[in-house]
Amino acid sequence: MTNPQTLSPIVKYTRVRKSFGDLEVIKGIDLAIAPGEKVALIGPSGSGKTTLGRMLMTLEEPTDGTIEVDGGHLWHEEKNGKLVRAGEKHLHRMRGSIGMVFQHFNLFPHMKVLDNVTAAPRKVLRLSKEESRARALEMLDKVGLADKIDMYPSQLSGGQKQRVAIARALVMHPKVMVFDEVTSALDPELVGEVLEVIKGIAEQGEMAMLLITHEMDFARDVADRVVFGVEGRIVEEGPPEEIFGNPQSDRLKAFLGRFL
C-alpha cells in the first residue's frame, strides 16, 4: 500500500485554534489527512474532537490558523493577493468536497427517506429527478434500506436513521467525510449495523474519513491512523497497532485503561 503521507493531503489543519468566548477548546492543532486515508480521532470528552470535525464542515470558524481542503484554503480566500476571511460563495465551493454524518442524525423530518437523500443532489448538484433518484436508490441499497424509501424518518429505528443519514451524505460524493460520534446516540444493539456499513464504505477506498468515535474496536479495525487528543491538543498519533497495542504516553494508557 502506498504510504499515504507521500500524496498531498486532502485535509490539512495548520496551527488551528478555537475559543468559545474565554474557553479555548482547540489549542494549536496540526493535522494532515491524505486522500483516501481513514483517520480515527479518539480522546476523552471535552478534548475538542467534535469541534475539529465541525470546523472542517464549516460549522465552526477557527479562531486562528488555517484549514486547507484539496489544496485550497477553506476559511480564507485570496483577494488582491491577500488572504482574507472567505465569503459564502467561496465556502460553498469548498464545501462540495466535504460531507458529514451527525451524532443525532439530523434527518429532515418533513421528507420521506428517498426525498431526504435526493434533496441535495437535486437542489445543490442540480441533477435531474431521474438521476437523483437513481443515485439515491444506489446509496440506499448500499446501506441496506432500499425497502424503506417511502417511509418517514419518525418511522425508523435509530440505526436505520443513521444509515439513511450516511446514504444522504454519500450521495454527494465528498472527498472527505466527517463521522461525528455517529453511534453514540444509538442503543447498543443498533450500533453494529451502522459500523458494518461504515466499514464497507471504508473498504471501498476512495473517500478520506475522519472518524470521531468512542468505539475502540471499530477504530482499530477500520482506521489507517489513530489520533489521540486531550483538552485541545494532540498527544499521540500513529497506526492502530501502535496506539492500541503499545501506547506511549501516560494519558493514552490511562484513557485506554478505561476500555479494557
Binding site: L59, H92, F105, N106, F108
Partner: protein, 216 residues
Amino acid sequence: MHTPWNEFVPLLWEGLLVTLEVAIYSAAAILLSAAGGLCRVSASPAVQWLAKIYIGLFRGIPLLVLLIWVYFALPFAGVELPKVAAAVLAIGLNYGAFGSEIVRSAIQAVPPGQREAAVALNFTPAQRMIHIILPQALVRMLPPFGNLLIELVKATSLIYFITLSDLTYQAMILRNNFLPSTAQIFGLLLVIYFLLSTVISTGVGWLERRLTEGRV
C-alpha cells in the same frame, strides 16, 4: 317577556358582513408577519434592527389607540382614510407585529441540527430556508397563528369606536331600539363571536393535521 329575535337578525347580519370584511383584509397582515419574521432573523443586522423597531412600535401601542389615531389624527397630517381602510391599516400593522414574532419564534424553534445538516449538504442559505427550515417552521406556526386569528376577529369589535357598522356597532343600535332586550342582544353577540372563533380553531386544527400527515 317577548324577545323579538327576528328583528335582530337583519342588522346583525349586516354587521357580521362588515366584521368579516375587515377581518379578512386584516388577515393580509399575515403576509406582513412573514416578511417581518424573516427580517427579524435576517443575516443583516440592519434589516434585523428595522424589523425590531417595527415590532416594538406596534406591540407597544394599544390597538385602540392606534386605530383612533389613524382615523382621527392622521387626516390632520394630510392622510385621510375611509373607515374600512383605517381599520385594516391599524389592525394589520398591529397584528403583523405579533405575527412576526410568531414566525421568528417558529423559525428559531427548528432544531439547529437541521440547519447544520443543510450546511453539510452544501445548500445555499436561501435553499436552507426554503426547503428545510420554513417547511418545518410552518407546522410550528399554525397553532399560535390560529390563536392570533381569533384575537384578530375579536379585535375587529374595536372598529365600533370609529363608528364602523360591525357586529358590535349594530348590536348597540339594536340595544337602543330594544332596550329591554339588552342582555339577550349582547348575549347573542357573544355567541356569534364564539362561533366565529370556533370555526377558525377548527379550520386551523384541520390544516395542522393535513400538514403533519404521517410525519409526527
